[in-house]
């Protein structure tokens, strides 16, 4: 149960919310507030799961997904995109860029961890 999760998210409140939920469920959480830091941490720490926000200051979530997939990291790393409703076609684009799945914003605190685990196990 002590899998490591990397969260790439620029919004401090969202980052806090996600890490709070995950640490409450006994996960190890590492944090990156932009795309470059996220990629560096992914290469250094080899997390089992990476949660990526779609809108980041330096690059978008799709670019992070495709860079992660071409960086030589193990393919077993699960990449999950956290995206908002109403942005039509975002989810399909994320899957094409190499993401394993997506979770919609606003996240539901009751189901968020379960949603993430079901993508991780698939």
């Amino acid at each position: 149960m002590n899998s490591t999760i990397l969260i790439i998210e620029d919004n401090i409140q969202n980052m806090y919310m996600l890490s709070y939920l995950l640490t409450s469920s006994s996960y190890n959480v590492i944090k990156a507030y932009n795309g470059i830091d996220g990629l560096n941490l992914a290469n250094k720490k080899h997390p089992e799961i990476i949660l990526v926000d779609i809108q980041l200051p330096d690059m978008d979530g799709y670019e992070i997904c495709s860079r992660l997939r071409s960086s030589g990291l193990p393919k077993s790393i699960v990449v999950i995109v956290v995206t908002s409703h109403a942005m039509g076609g975002d989810q399909e684009k994320a899957i094409e860029a190499g993401a394993n799945g997506y979770i919609e914003k606003p996240i539901n605190p009751d189901t968020f961890v379960k949603q993430m685990e079901s993508i991780f196990k698939a």
């Binding site: 409140q13 409450s24 109403a86 039509g88 989810q91 399909e92 606003p106 996240i107 605190p109």
Partner: protein, 711 residues
């Protein structure tokens, strides 16, 4: 190089045959020669064996003669001439079958005793005086030893060997003791002993050591067989024995030799025949081929003759025709024009060849004609067109041209043949007609002008009105741009609004989960209210974002195939708690087991959620039915409720943004009033339609139709 030439020449059947002949001939003849040598040596062995036998017999004869005469000598030396000579002689004769006569000779050389007497009347004959016996006898006396004289012509006839033992008493010669052997007796015996097939000719001779003259014992003529002589060393001089096979045996090696020659000949012939066969077959084939070639040439000559004739026929027909005729390859290079063509164009035959004909075209027509031609070649079609020729003198000829494609056996176009007819006259008459028509029109024009004057007054009035409407148009454009700005503003604002909403909803949710510590019931109730309000506000923001995107034309949809029934089921499951809270039943009537829709799944879900939640929202009793069926590749979904219904006059307003029917309903029914407008826009964006049938207080039916595959 040399080697390869000789190897190559071996491939010629005759050379190969000869080579085989020589090789086999040499081999067989060599074997035959060896056989011949072996056969010959066998023959020699046989002769040698016979010679050995004779030698042995002769030697034993000499021994017998010696012992017999010695015995007689002994008797005479002891007792003198015996009284019973005949008895003793008979005894001696019985010692050897080759003894013929026993004799006693006195000291003077006169024969005194002979046994047997019959046929031997030699008593009283002096051997010392006779020419034949003298030398041998004297030599015997001198040597005082046994001596075999011979061959001796016997007084009694025949040739014989006389063995003499000189007799001495007190060293004084007193006579001879002699034994005579007829040679014929000896050899006759041999002949009788030989088996029939093994007969020999014999000859025995004694060589005079001083003169070298040979005295022959037998009468056999052996002059051709001098080489067969076998010397026999005797104590009494050199003798020669001839043993000549009576019949020279046939040497079977000759057969081998002949068979060898035949074999060599036959084998080399077979080799020559088979080696030469393929060459002969080749010759046969090439002769047949050349024959066929000749026939083909003949056929070709006949055919080309016919072609020439038909070509000549074509030329004469074409050159005399009253229409222009031309032919060209598919690149448009002309290779024939007739006289009429030259007349129309004013060009010579030579000038028209290749691409020269293009210069005959009127400059106005050039591009068009080339284009038509190229299109015809490209699509492999015939063509018809009208064009003008402009000759050097400036005369224009109008032509109607018809081009027909030429097709080879492989169905490929290899050129065009065409005709062109002069239609200048027709064009001229058409022009005349046109000028008549123009005159008429002018007349009509004059009349019309009069009418126009009155019309102008009316037009001025209209212009004034137009000016006013332009002003109105400008106002409208202004309003529209303001609308667009509003949409852009809303899009940005909605996004900015949404982010804090996520925090509000998320953290109230976390607090309600009591992860940070337990809450009392009042705190829980109030936090739930915060959360509900947050969710409602977020819904509003999302709807505003959608409608502003739709109005700004920025809404994107993406098409993927998905399972429609699964999506519908998800939506129903989501709304089930809401429905059961109001005591409503959700019923489905689905005619297909499996429906794959190519569309934007998330948008479809949004539409279904909208319509269904409306149906639940505006119903207080009964049920909500969802009917799904597919007809002609169109997916039809009907959502039927038994709710408040819609007034007929209000149905048109239903899909207009920000309008919720009957202001009074606002309190009772929460919502932005954007749901149906968004849904209708989305449905149309996805290629579908939405219709409503409704009756106030009875209920409403929303019918949504989507093509299964929309592109």
């Amino acid at each position: 190089m040399r080697k390869s030439i000789s190897f190559f020449s071996l491939k010629k059947p005759l050379v190969l045959g000869f080579f085989v002949f020589l090789t086999l001939l040499f081999a067989t003849q060599y074997v035959s020669y060896q056989e011949y040598v072996i056969n010959n040596s066998e023959e020699k062995q046989k002769v040698n064996k016979q010679v050995g036998l004779i030698k042995e017999k002769l030697q034993s004869l000499v021994m017998d003669s010696y012992s017999a005469t010695k015995l007689l000598e002994y008797i005479v030396e002891i007792n003198g001439v015996p009284k019973d000579f005949n008895k003793i002689a008979a005894e001696l004769l019985s010692r050897s079958k080759y003894f013929d006569v026993v004799e006693l000779v006195d000291g003077n050389g006169v024969i005194t005793h002979v046994y047997p007497l019959e046929n031997n009347e030699v008593i009283g004959f002096n051997i010392l005086t006779s020419a034949e016996g003298r030398s041998g006898s004297m030599a015997t006396i001198k040597r005082k030893d046994f001596f075999i004289a011979g061959p001796v012509r016997l007084k009694q006839g025949g040739v014989g060997m006389v063995s003499r033992q000189p007799l001495f008493i007190d060293d004084e010669f007193v006579g001879f003791a002699a034994v005579v052997t007829r040679i014929s007796t000896f050899f006759n015996e041999l002949v009788l002993e030989d088996p029939e097939e093994n007969r020999f000719i014999y000859q025995l001779s004694k060589v005079n050591t001083e003169t070298g003259i040979e005295d022959f014992f037998l009468e056999s003529d052996i002059s051709p067989y001098k080489d067969y002589a076998i010397p026999i060393e005797m104590s009494i001089g050199e003798w020669k024995l001839y043993v000549v096979p009576l019949q020279k045996p046939f040497n079977t090696a000759i057969w081998s030799s002949i068979i060898g020659v035949l074999l060599a000949f036959v084998s080399s012939w077979i080799v020559w025949y088979f080696a030469g066969r393929s060459a002969r077959l080749n010759n046969l084939i090439s002769s047949k081929l050349s024959e066929q070639e000749k026939q083909l040439k003949l056929v070709y000559e006949i055919t080309s003759e016919k072609v020439k004739k038909s070509e000549a026929l074509f030329r004469s027909l074409a050159s005399n025709a009253q229409v222009a005729i031309f032919s060209a390859d598919k690149e448009g290079m002309v290779n024939y024009v007739n006289d009429e063509w030259m007349k129309y164009s004013g060009m010579s035959f030579k000038e028209a060849m290749g691409s020269g004909w293009i210069n005959a075209l009127h400059p106005e027509d050039k591009d068009r004609v080339i284009h038509v031609w190229q299109q015809a070649v490209l699509y492999g079609s015939d063509f018809n067109l009208e064009l003008k020729f402009l000759d050097k003198k400036g005369n224009t000829t109008w032509l109607i041209v018809k081009g027909t494609k030429l097709i080879d056996a492989q169905n490929n176009i290899y050129g065009y043949i065409g005709t062109a007819s002069d239609i200048t006259e027709r064009i001229h008459s058409e022009k005349e007609l046109l000028s008549y028509k123009n005159n008429l029109e002018k007349l009509v024009g004059l009349r019309t002008e009069e009418l126009n004057d009155s019309k102008e007054a009316l037009l001025n009035l209209l212009e004034d009105i137009n000016l006013q409407s332009t002003e109105l148009e400008k106002e409208k454009v202004k309003a529209q741009s303001a609308d667009l700005m509003k949409s852009a503003f809303l899009a940005t604002m909605s996004h900015e609004l949404r982010t804090p909403m996520n925090s509000i909803i998320g953290f109230t949710g976390i607090l309600l989960k009591e992860l940070a510590g337990p809450l009392n019931s009042e705190q829980k109730k109030q936090l739930s209210m915060v959360k509900d309000s947050g969710s409602h506000l977020l819904g509003l923001i999302n709807d505003v974002l959608d409608i502003s995107k739709i109005e700004a034309g920025k809404l994107r949809v993406s098409f993927y195939p998905f399972n429609y029934l699964e999506t519908l089921e998800k939506t129903i499951d989501f709304l089930m708690p809401q429905a059961s809270k109001k005591g409503l039943e959700l019923r489905t009537e689905i005619s297909n087991l499996d429906i794959t829709l190519v569309s934007d799944e998330r948008r479809i879900e949004q539409i279904l959620l909208n319509i269904l939640s409306n149906a639940i929202k505006f119903s207080e009793k009964g049920d909500v039915r969802i009917k799904v069926n597919v007809k002609d590749d169109v997916l039809i979904t009907q959502i039927i409720d038994q709710g408040i219904g819609i007034d007929k006059k209000d149905i048109d307003k239903l899909f207009i943004p920000f309008i919720q029917l009957q202001g009074g309903l606002n309190r009772k029914h929460e919502g932005t009033g954007l749901g149906l407008a968004i849904s209708k826009n989305l449905i149309e964006k996805l290629g579908g339609t939405i219709e409503v049938e409704s009756e106030l207080e009875k209920g409403s039916t929303f019918i949504i139709k989507f093509p299964l595959k929309y592109s």
